[in-house]
Every structure is written in C-alpha cells, then in structure tokens.
C-alpha cells in the first residue's frame, strides 16, 4: 500500500520543529491506514540526521545530500521531491506551511497535478461518496481549514489525484516521539539522477537568518492584542502587563497588518499556534483563524468593548470594556495581591 510521506525541513543542519510535528501526525495517519511512514530529507552534511527522525516512527528515510542542496532552493528540491514521488507514489504528502513548504508544495503539486490544501488546522481520515458519479471513496484525507476570512470551516478532499498534499503551520500538530529505538531504513539518493544543471540557475548572494527573539510558542502567559487595541502606543500597555505577569505579547493578524507589532508575534492560522495556561485577549474580536491558534489555552480572558465578540464564546472570563482602562487595573491589582 502507498505510504504517507513527510518532507523534512532542515534549518542549520537540524530538523525543523514543524517537520517533527508532521512526522508525529504522519505516523498516526500511517498507522490508521496500515501503511508505512516515509520521509525525505534534502540538504548538506546530513550524516546522522536519521537519529532525529526515526524515533517518530519513520519506516523509510530518503536522503539527498549535496553541497548545492543547502540552504533550501526551489528548483533542485522540487526536482528531487517530484521524481521521488513519481517513483514511490505516496498517497499522502505533508509539508510545513513555512516559507519553504509554501514555496515547494505548490510547485510539486503543479508538476504532479495533485491537489494541495494550505494551512490545514486538522487532518483526519474519512470516506466520501460522489453521488453524481456514483463513486465511493474510502480512507481519504480530510484536509480541514478555515476559509473565507474565517467565516466558514471547509473540509477539502482530493478524491482522484495523488498524493493528497497538505501544508500545516508550526505548532498546530503536537510533536511526540513514538519510540526512541524505532528502526527504519535509509535510502540514499543519487542526487545527479534527481536533478539537472538547470535546477541550479538561482544564486544565493546573501543570507541572514536569526533565531526568533520572540518566544510566544513557549510562553505560559500570553497577553494578545487585536485591532481593537487601537494604536501602537496602546500596545505598550500589553507589554507592561506581560512583563509584570512574566508572559509574552501576541497579536492578531489585524493588529500585525496595522503595524502595531511585528509578524513574529502573530497568533492564529497564519501565525503561531499557542497553548498557554493563560491567554488574555485584548481588543480581539476572535475570528476563527485567530481562535484556531489559541483556543486550546487553559484559561482565556477576553477584554472587548463588544459584548457579542466571538472571542467571548470561548472565554472563561469576559470583561466588557476599554483595554486602556482595564489593563492598568489588572497591573495594579496583580501587584497589590502579590505583595
């Protein structure tokens, strides 16, 4: 039976977080479908990388190792993945919804004429009946994602084309080692057979990558602001409260798009997914894309001038009022009660 495949993203010689999360999800899907989980790692100096990959339950790891394959570049990675998929014919292929996966995924899907669903928030196996054509499909991948500005949740399927491809953001799936001693096999690819010289026409002139300074994913307490915060200056109140509580500041897409804070703080379907013990949502209406990135928080406080804001429906505490009035009071009474 055809395998489940995960494209392994490599950053500085390390397996990216999102890839480990996808391996965990891929293992669960492969087990349910009773097929193998395979992975493809493309880069340079990848010796020993299998030690970080097999424990997630990977049965076969394909490795393409060549100086010209790191850092990531569209054309050679596309050629390798396309050719390998043509040979192995996976039924499902997963990639991170990162700047790498979102560059590679559509290119591969276009070459293979397979369907690709971006930024999925849930992946499950299910059946489908096409009444018009009187056809039944079993064990399809349901690719579930919010759509249309978050007003709807769509379930997308690829009934006839393979592989069924999906990208998922970092933090959406949970990462979990299956068995630290899990043994898979390695298949080293002959890079010259999978690429040609024309794949290397794009030159890297400069590259500066830094570790993200903002760690909203690991924060226990998040004070997040939306468009309703009103200004960059008002966001300072969020930073003050976060500092007092020992937390981080997050933001909705609307706040990021308005320039109140940087992209690295964006929470939601197209940002980071977080699960803190306390999430304080300030002036956030709570569109589904935002909720998709924070609804598993242990406790949620929603502060909003609109008593009917959607965020209130998933909150533990609802405070109707002005952020500029409420946050200073929270700081004041936190300090008063911890002295």
């Amino acid at each position: 039976m055809n395998s489940v495949f995960v494209y392994i993203e490599i950053e500085d010689g390390q397996v990216a977080e999102v890839s480990m999360e996808l391996l965990t999800k891929g293992r669960a899907l492969a087990t349910e479908l009773k097929v193998k989980l395979e992975a493809i790692a493309i880069g340079y100096k990848l010796d020993g990388i299998e030690k970080d990959i097999f424990p997630y339950g990977v049965d076969v790891l394909h490795i393409a190792d060549d100086k010209r394959l790191a850092p990531y570049s569209t054309l050679p990675h596309t050629s390798i993945v396309v050719k390998l998929f043509q040979e192995e014919k996976p039924q499902i292929a997963l990639m991170g919804a990162s700047s790498v996966g979102r560059d590679l995924g559509p290119r591969v899907s276009s070459a293979l004429h397979s369907g690709l669903t971006a930024d999925c928030t849930s992946l499950v196996i299910g059946d489908h009946e096409d009444k018009k054509q009187n056809k039944e499909y079993t064990n399809l991948l349901y690719q579930i994602r919010p759509a249309f500005g978050g007003n709807i949740i769509a379930t997308i399927i690829n009934p006839d084309c393979r592989p069924q491809m999906a990208t998922v953001r970092e933090g959406v799936m949970k990462k979990e080692i299956l068995d630290s001693k899990y043994k898979g096999t390695i298949n080293k690819l002959d890079v010259s057979k999978y690429t040609s010289d024309v794949d290397f026409v794009v030159e890297m002139i400069e590259r500066h990558m830094e570790k993200s300074k903002v760690n909203i994913k690991g924060a226990g307490i998040i004070v997040a602001g939306g468009y309703g915060v009103g200004s960059k200056e008002n966001f300072n109140l969020l930073f003050e409260l976060a500092e007092v509580l020992g937390g981080e500041v997050g933001a909705s897409r609307a706040a990021v798009d308005s320039g109140y804070v940087g992209h690295d703080r964006q929470i939601g379907q197209t940002g980071t997914t977080v699960r803190p013990k306390l999430y304080i949502a300030c002036g956030i209406s709570g569109q589904i894309q935002h909720r998709a990135g924070m609804e598993e928080s242990a406790q949620i406080i929603a502060i909003n001038t609109d008593p009917e804001a959607p965020i209130n429906s998933i909150a533990d505490y609802v405070i109707t009022g002005d952020v500029a009035e409420i946050l200073p009071k929270m700081i004041k009474y936190y300090k008063a009660n911890t002295k």
Binding site: R107, I156, E206, Q299, Y317, T320, E325, N337
Partner: protein
Amino acid sequence: MKGYKIIVLAKQVPDTRNVGKDAMKADGTVNRAALPAIFNPEDLNALEQALRIKDQFPGTTITVLTMGPGRAAEIIREGLFRGADDGILLTDRAFAGSDTLATSYAIGQTLKKYGNFDIIIAGRQAIDGDTAQVGPQVAEKLGIPQITYAEEIQAIEKGKVTVKRRLERGVEVVKCPMPLVVTVNSSAPDCRARNAKLIMKYKHAKTISEMQEANDDYLHLYSDRPYLTIKEWTVQNIEVDMNELGLTGSPTKVKKVENVVLQSKGAKVITSSDEDMDQLMRELIENHTIG
C-alpha cells in the same frame, strides 16, 4: 534605455478583512454581495515593484492580467490609473469552480499564448484563500524559476534579477535569470496612489462586454484610442484542454462547508470596576494561573 516586459498577476477579492455581521446568510453560506470587492492587497505591492522597474527602465511595459468575472475589469482600470500600460481580463464560465491548480493552468496557458514577458510579478497570496499557491504553480506550468516572499526587486542586469526575500526568520538575497515569477510580500512598499492624469486618460477604458453594456456616447473613442480597450480573453483565445479547467480540472474538492457556530462555554462576565478587577487577580493568583 531598454525596458522590460512585465506581467502583473492580480486578483479581485472580497474584502475579508472587514467582515460585517451581514456577511453570512441565514443558511450559513457567504453573502458575497455584502463584501466589497477590492484589488488584492499584496497584488498592489506587486504592482508597485513593477512600477519601480518602469521608473528605472522607461521602455518597460506593464500588463495586468486577472482572471475572474466581468466586474474584475475594475482592478485592471485601477492598475492603469496607477501606471500599468494595459490589461487582460481572462473570463469564461468554464473557469468557474477552479481551485488553485486549475487557475494556474488557465493563467499558464494564457501567458504561453501571450508570450512576450521577462518578469511575472504577483502578490504572494490573496486574502480570500491565503494559499500562496498560484504564483509557484504558474511558474511550474511555464517551466521557469520562482522567487517567493520577495520584499524588493533590487536590480536587473545582464539578464538577471536580484531579489531580496523576507522570510520568517531573516532575509535572503538571490539572483535569478529571466524569465521568472516573483511573488511579493506585504512587507514590500505600498503601491503608489492613482495618478490624476492617468485617471483622465483611462477612465473610459473598458472591456468589449462593458462597452456593449454601456452603449454610451463614447463608443467612437475606442476606435480612435486603442489603449482604452481592455483585452477580454475567453477559452477561445487560448489553447486549453477543457478537462483541466474549472471544477473538472480541480483535484481538490470541497466536501463540506460549515458555518462557524459558537457555543458559549459559560464565561464569567465581569465589569471593569475596581472590585471585579481585584477579585479577578486574586482568583488567578489563588488557582496558580499567575504569580
């Protein structure tokens, strides 16, 4: 000075950023009529990059290509008002229901037919789907390289384009031979405003269908001023395999669409009074959520 032939791929989208309460119909489907149709924001960033190339290389021509219903001609006019030279509206019922792959096939076939391009520039993604797929899929259909997540087209020399990319954790500068596809991030500079002279020049620019509907006194204009005719292409103008178009040509199918229904989990509703705030912070400290 030698100019370049640039195609800007643009999409007219519902403004999903400002969704009002009437955006959903009672049956749970989206009420498109209630959402204003706008020029996809990142496609405007793309247009600006094209205009900057034209500033630097005056012989450059910019063609705005969009696929959509008849009214999408609005964004071609918008492009003309800001400095584009002409536009193509690709419109046909056969495209209805296209997913990103069927869309990129139609656009790819159009570009193959039209030919005549050095650089194709598009927004990274459209706000109604956020997929970021059509740019790379078109590049693959044309068999040319792509540079995604572009923030600035820095230079063009000796047949190569230098592009700065803005990624999650940093920047890259890459150099790529033409022809190529560039997709532009919202971190790139905003598009310049409409130009008053260009508004005067192009305000009557119309597609054939629009001219027929308008039936106004300006019809003589179109024979005198060919630049006022916006090209309107259907499947008749391009070579296509009909099985690759629309719903039939789309590998992805929408199985189910659910309206987002929220059920309150029974939140404690509190006021911003000093008593309530004091009580809230005490509770959170006592149950070890904070402190």
